[in-house]
Point group: C2
Chain length 234, copies 2
DNA sequence: TGTATTTTTCTTGTCGACAAGAAGTCGGCA
DNA sequence: TGCCGACTTCTTGTCGACAAGAAAAATACA
């Protein structure tokens, strides 16, 4: 809002992607919380660009469902759809399973190394008790697995789901305790081994259990939070 | 190209969606074949709109992967990715199964009626030997089922996959014979019954078999076609 | 005559300005 | 005092024009 982003001029065509990626991150990291108004003029000033490229970035974000445009009126950061959470969990679980299965079946030379790098980053975040880091490195780890599975449709949907999940987790990240993440590290290790051994059935089972863990965790956050609010009323 | 689309002026904001939907249809129906150049100026003339709303429609189509923009150079209708066909079949089959399962589990009052309407439309197209009609009504039938399953993530991905499939089928629709579609009508009926009875397992099995049928059919079209080309060389 | 280089042309990317639509504001009236 | 309607203002939607980049065409040179 107050920060002048870049006085530097962009290379032709690079402006839109800069705006797109910057806003995308800020939305996912809740730096722009759900419901925040998105003002084109303001962004135009901030990025030192005309409204046209800003608009193009916003159209892309809208296509992804990250922002909602009220026609002729305003555009805001999309709200988190708590009513749609069951659908979300269902799709997320399916993608966890399918991508891990495919990784076990299709992974090629070098894929494992990439996955291991992400796993190391996740371990580091856990060791440092960097909660925000855990959330994003966990995402990167699973996307690396999905990419090893070599199905762009799944990678795309999974990415969207994981990023939507990041928004939800950020909302509740204060309740993160350090016992579950440590367990995740172990589960990740097992998954890597199953993938290496091309044990599709085992990979599926592990992914399924892992997904259940995460879904249960998110659910507990949400219910715990609402209980807190309920106790406030006494 | 030669047709003057509409001299009428659009209501503020309705122009983009008109352009978007029109182009989307033309791409899927191969009226704009893969590789066709998309000229903004030309579209601007055709729709009697400035280049700005045209551009917005194109950005949306690009986000969906229906068109490809070569930066600073040209934008064309995306090619059909034959190398990615295995991934496509895998995802398509999974979505057939998952959506039909969910429809059996979650369908509510009125969903069946909607599905039946689409099934009737499909039957009619088969009776009339309207191949193009079969392709699009078949899509509508399965999307109706997906919607009864009540999971927007699956509906969205499935819609994209089915529409991509429409492009492929259009390429080969001349080889459509009328024995397989008749079989599809029966398979559709069975699926409807399984959904009504909330028999998830049966719905899954039928959807799986149905998907296999379709995949096999597309595969046979493609190989038959390439064989034809091969024989030409003699 | 063939190749390298300059020029032209064409399409996309960006800009600043104007128009339309909706919410909020202000004033009038019962 | 409360409600209805015109007005103002603010944001988005659209426009026409200009700039940049790349391919194609034309030209110069060996």
């Amino acid at each position: 809002m107050d920060e002048t982003e870049k006085l530097q001029t962009y290379r032709r065509g690079s402006g839109v992607s800069t705006v797109y990626e910057t806003l995308r991150n800020e939305i996912i990291e809740l730096k722009l919380p759900p419901g925040s108004p998105i003002d084109e003029q303001q962004l135009s000033d901030r990025f030192a660009l005309s409204r046209t490229p800003i608009r193009e970035a916003l159209v892309r974000l809208a296509a992804e469902g990250l922002i909602t445009t009220l026609t002729n009126r305003a555009t805001i950061v999309s709200n988190i759809d708590f009513l749609g959470l069951p659908e979300f969990f269902d799709a997320l679980t399916l993608m966890y399973r399918v991508t891990t299965r495919l990784a076990a079946a299709n992974h090629a030379e070098g894929d494992i190394a990439t996955i291991r790098i992400q796993q190391k980053a996740f371990e580091l975040a856990v060791a440092n008790r960097d909660v925000l880091g855990m959330i994003s490195t966990n995402r990167d780890f699973h996307i690396a697995i999905a990419q090893a599975g070599r199905n762009r449709y799944y990678v795309e949907l999974f990415t969207r789901l994981l990023d939507e999940g990041r928004r939800i987790l950020r909302l509740y990240y204060s309740s993160f305790n350090d016992v579950l993440p440590r367990q995740y590290v172990g589960e990740h290790e097992e998954m890597i081994q199953a993938i290496i051994n091309r044990d599709v059935a085992l990979a599926d089972r592990l992914a399924s259990a892992h997904a259940d863990q995460i879904v249960r965790q998110i659910r507990s956050y949400i219910t715990a939070d609402s209980r807190q609010n309920a106790s406030l009323a006494l």
